[in-house]
Symmetry: C2
Subunit: 535 residues, 2 copies
């Protein structure tokens, strides 16, 4: 235990179910990226034996937790949200110290995190998410009678969740992956991200206490630290693991995907990986409001040091006088942006290296570059918007790759046909955006069409950053944006990753799960003999 | 072209869109498994160049077909059903000659095939399957306004469908995979199964004509022959292919899965592979109705020479006097079953080899064996029910594997605890069945629970064979039953394999797809601001 702030102690130990694991000797500390110094707390490195114990216990817990009623699960999620809120400034301060992210941004992220938990509690209480479908028997059907069949979604089993570095709350220990898995009825083993072990420990403790409070089975949640790869690998390869979620780099995601595929029993990995989030600036919009667009994008590119997965990394436009004004205004806007602390020293040096490489390429010019370096803090990223001709972009695959950080590249096409060629050449994306005047959209239908075929979310006249957490959100997209475009990792739809349909055939009414009983005791929406109803 | 029957000619050429591909020289013939002789028709082996051309054309067609309205798609599917019916006895006879399956079984399968097509036409006309979700803007929400977001399912792109040998219509050229892909809006390239090229050719012609009749884009459907693996491999590896479906062996399915994963852009393969479909016979049921159960299972095991994917390959029971009576009756029942022609000589010799190996194992005894060999026909399978102790079954992993054909193994446990251990040791399954008296079910909840965690469909008091095609069907299950337990290959749910959600953010109402417009012009069920409605 390490004291953190006035009122809290962080559990620096690994948690397996309701047990704190005695230290084995190896530990690591969090680094403050702003100061490049160690933060308090010796976090104990878990062993592969711990990973095995956590998965075995999760599997035992699953036998109970898969039948835990919706009300109890909802109350559990609400208690986690309350616990996170109760951590108050201690959590925000620790997050800020570990991530370098500013307090206002983290306050918003905390709201999103507790909002997600409460949203899933509501979803469970409403109950219709299980997609109940009922076809009752037709004994006198010819040539063959129809037997009674009823289907609903059930949890797949223990989930392994990797905490993400860029959202130390909303995509971490009690983030979207954990909450959607727990809501589905899957126990969760979190592999904490080593960049924010303190924030992870504080939240893990909250989840453990909430699970105890609601009498949930031992093992419904475990939390393991590792500053290396051994524990993560052991978790993904463990026979009791049934699904893995990850948010991070393409390289990291694909390494997990590969491991999961090579198991005796291959399992799905939902990996949200890289995305350059192309933004198309149509000619009329540039002509009419170049300066306004420049303002929007100088803010969007630099938000949280460009470390959002929806950061607009590519801007596409056709040469024009309006584009020249946009470039001038964007260049001026970017120059005024102060440097920002990146999440880790590694991420920062990678950003410096990649952006330097890009800018050193003779095909690449600079549109604008931030020059207000904060010399008091370390690991500072200065935003850059660069420029390349469409022909040069098309000539080299490496320009398609993401530069993680406040880096954006403007691709300048000679005409709309060439711009469309660039769109056709892009990889799968989380988002694709069009900035346009209403009257010009009809002219570019094929481009709009290509964008909606490329991405999980298509945006008109808005920045791709700012991901709404709700029913209609799709945060996912064709490879390499994610490992499976058929799912989302944000919003209520994220629960679908952790469930599979099971059909009950010819069971007596009282033996069926409540969601499938004739009298619909849960009052949920069901497809009953081909009619939607709540009766 | 080869004449087949009185009124039909089979196209023995490959079809790419609306073009018949000129022969390149290599061809193969179908074999009659009943006579081990060649059937009429020299089917031209496609080349990898043909595979490329088919996928390129499918991709072009996709740009149009993904927007084809539901009414047109529905009419297309209905025309295919009418065309298949119009082929009349010619199709049934050719299927029978190529597959060795009896005409009554094939007549049923044809009904299922046209039924599936019409079911999907209904689904499209009703329209709610796109899962439209709408969250309208809340400009005055604090701390941040909510932007308008609307989500629906859209097709992923060109699909490659492998015809299956065991259902020459219902899981072949116009089978469940093709129809659900076409319904979703995905062009389909079928790799015809070489065991029934004639039946495939007849149906492919029907689809081509139906596509033309409804003015669908060239390339919405293609049909390629190959008696080897080169064409299938080229199709799966082709960059324009976005999803693959397959029904067949574990080995074949996993080979495709591996190929699809190793692409630059990995794509999903929905492979339905092996399943032993365990059936648990509870003690009271055995005591009360051993003979009736024996009758049910002697029919279920031997149906279509045990070549259904839901064939009950494992029976589990605890030693008892009732079980002895069941064994006696089942042995007598099986002995009376006539031999049946298997689908191909290869499948038959594999069945002979595997069943001989099993029976040669000293842990395995015979409960019953068919001995009425039809000496007029070739490739005959005689049904066998064997027996093994639970301890011996648990001692060797090979007994878990499927023997494709009319082979079933009774696992005899000393007590219920040992039976439960066997259930815990089984692989994922398409189906799991319990034969029980009502009053004893409450005693064995943990076993029932384990079964529902193991399989896609759990059946009470009925044989697993006979797969209802409807909304509530789940034909899929944990690995190795399928490559992804979250999907089904039978019923309306099968369409979900071919679609992904896309969210539109901040679009004007008239620019949105009809399914997402404010006024709901399609009149479909939608989740509108968290309320289900058809308004």
């Amino acid at each position: 235990m390490t004291r953190w702030g006035k009122n809290y102690y962080m559990n620096t130990q690994n948690i397996i179910g309701y047990a704190l694991i005695p230290p084995t000797g190896k530990s690591f500390r969090a680094m403050s990226p702003a100061s490049d110094t160690e933060l308090a707390g010796d976090f104990h490195v878990a062993t592969t034996t711990d990973a095995d114990a956590a998965m075995q216990l999760a599997d035992k817990a699953f036998a109970v937790y898969r039948h835990t009623d919706a009300k109890t699960k909802a109350a559990f999620l609400r208690s986690i949200a309350e616990g996170i809120t109760a951590l108050g400034d201690e959590l925000l301060n620790r997050c800020a110290a570990e991530s370098g992210l500013p307090i206002p941004r983290l306050t918003g992220e905390r709201g999103r995190t507790t909002g997600q938990l409460n949203m899933y509690a509501n979803l469970l209480e409403e109950g219709s998410w299980v997609d109940a479908v009922i076809d009752t028997a037709i004994p006198d059907r010819t040539p063959l009678p129809r037997v009674d069949i009823r289907k609903m979604l059930v949890p797949v089993g223990p989930a392994v969740v990797f905490g993400a570095s860029n959202f130390p709350m909303a995509f971490s220990v009690a983030g979207g992956d954990t909450v959607s898995a727990l809501a589905a009825g899957c126990p969760v083993v979190v592999k904490a991200h080593p960049a924010h072990p303190g924030a992870s420990a504080l939240v893990a403790e909250v989840i453990m206490q909430a699970a105890q409070k609601h009498g949930l089975p031992d093992g419904v949640f475990s939390h393991l630290f590792d500053d290396g790869y051994a524990v993560g690998e052991a978790l993904v390869k463990h026979p009791k693991t049934k699904i893995v979620t990850f948010t991070g780099s393409l390289k990291g995601g694909m390494a997990l995907v590969k491991m999961a595929r090579e198991r005796d029993e291959p399992i799905p990995v939902f990996a949200e990986m890289g995305s350059t989030n192309p933004v198309i600036l149509l000619p009329q919009a540039l002509e009419n409001r170049a300066e306004e667009l420049a303002k929007t994008y100088s803010e969007s590119v630099t938000m949280s040091a460009g470390q959002f997965c929806t950061n607009p990394g590519l801007l596409l436009a056709v040469k024009s006088e309006g584009l020249d004004r946009f470039k001038t205004a964007l260049g001026a806007g970017i120059a005024n942006v102060a440097s920002a602390t990146m999440l880790t020293a590694g991420i920062c040096s990678n950003y410096q290296k990649l952006s330097k490489e890009r800018l050193g390429n003779e095909a690449v010019n600079i549109v604008g570059k931030a020059d207000k370096l904060n010399t008091e803090n370390q690991n500072q990223a200065l935003a850059v918007v660069s420029e390349i001709s469409a022909a040069d972009f098309l000539a080299d695959d490496k320009f398609k790759e993401e530069v993680f950080g406040p880096y954006s590249m403007l691709i300048v096409a000679d005409d709309m046909a060439q711009l469309e060629e660039v769109v056709g050449y892009l990889h799968g994306q989380l988002t694709a955006t069009i900035m346009a005047e209403r009257e010009e959209l009809a002219l570019y239908k094929p481009i709009i069409d290509k964008l909606s075929n490329l991405a999980g979310r298509v945006i008109l006249n808005g920045p791709p950053t700012g991901v709404e957490v709700g029913n209609a959100m799709q945060h996912g997209g064709p490879f390499p944006a994610t490992s499976d475009s058929r799912f989302t990792s944000v919003g209520t739809g994220a629960i679908k990753r952790f469930v599979r349909p099971v059909a009950w055939q010819n069971w007596d009414n009282d033996l069926l799960p409540d969601a499938l009983k004739d009298e619909n005791p849960l009052g949920i929406w069901r497809l009953f003999n081909n009619e939607w109803s709540r009766k």
